[in-house]
Amino acid sequence: MSRLAAVIGCVMAVSAAAALADEAAAGTPGESRPSPAGGADPAAGVLAQAEPAGADREGAAGESAGESAEDLAEDPASPDADGGTEARPLPEVPQSSPFPDDSEPSPEPSGDAAADTSAADGEGQADPTPQDPLPGEQELGASLGLALGGGSTPGGLRIGGRYYYRLSSRDWFDAGVGFTFGSSREACFRDRRDDVVCDHGFASGFAAEVRAGGIRFFGSDDTFSPYARLGVAGRIIAFPGDEVRGIAAPAFVGAGVRARVHDFVAVTGGAEFLSGPAWMSRGMGLEPHASFAVSAGVEFTVVD
């Protein structure tokens, strides 16, 4: 069972890593991919200009972006003017963006597109709109779930707290704390070489952790947003029944779905795989540390 959990975790890790790689590859201008609703990713902004009005840029910057696209479509220099699908770089047009990195100076717009956009956006800056799937700059969350451990890895009831800080339209800094509570059943023994071996079950021991990493939302509408996360954690481990303690420095990958239930409230569900080295007491030394966890939670936008 322990091996099944590990295999599921590994499959999830590979999937998440591949998804991240795909997204990174798709983030270059010239590739046609849907942009997040209401998002203001710079690359997506260029793409939106090349699409007809009514494409999925309707939202935070919907009208202004749509008008710009129409204007550009009439321009012979526009990629869509001749019906071609090849996307060429266009003059950057300021978009409504709640994100600091999206408001960086861009090449000076020219022609009607620039004029229309300036008229629609004012200074090119706008507050987050209700259509933005992630309206704030910071978020707080809490989660409850189950972690599968085994060997020298604690497992059991898992509770956690999270803090998100927006880095771009889809990427957030992800920090948090977590606690895992399992049984205190004794499971360590001395093998015939006099080495201490621990064979704890799936839900045994205790762990407290702090973590930091990143989370990316792949949402294409303002209701459901699949996500992937990865990062590193520092853990304190204890198996009270065996008087074994230790520390671990694992990496984690995870994926899940987030659904908004209110303008500033979302619920989440996801799974996570965590693996890395651990240093244990009682002469055990360096031990592998691996856990698979599922959890559900709620997240709140911090209103500025």
Partner: protein
């Protein structure tokens, strides 16, 4: 972007390898039967402390017949009945230590009239 994908896959493979290593545990001995011990607290039920019969100490379970013992062990009439690893020759007992060998002991069973012998791992007489 190929390098990004390759790096992501390499990370996933490394995590998988660590996980496989994590799953490798000793399957021969346990807190129930076979672990070294000096006292009962180191075992699930009972510790036969280190002596000539059980060099290094031996965690075991009390038994009345084979049905009380885990797989690969037999209920031998030693110290009132304990589970010991079954064997056919000394080499099969080497995993317990160099002072262990295969000995013939009386098998404990529910039928008092049934007297049978069984070969189990115990400390070798010096």
């Amino acid at each position: 972007m190929k390098s990004a994908r390759a790096a992501a896959l390499a990370t996933a493979l490394a995590l998988s390898a660590l996980t496989l290593v994590a799953c490798q545990q000793s399957a021969e001995v346990s807190r129930a039967v076979g672990a070294m011990c000096d006292e009962k607290a180191e075992c699930d039920e009972r510790c036969m402390p280190p002596d000539a019969l059980t060099p290094g100490g031996f965690c075991t379970l009390s038994c009345l017949n084979d049905g009380d013992c885990p797989a690969d062990t037999r209920c031998a009439d030693v110290e009132g009945g304990v589970c010991l690893f079954a064997c056919q020759h000394d080499l099969q007992c080497e995993f317990l230590g160099q002072d262990w060998g295969c000995s013939e002991e009386e098998l404990l069973s529910d039928d008092p009239e049934e007297i049978d012998e069984v070969e189990v791992c115990l400390g070798s007489p010096q």
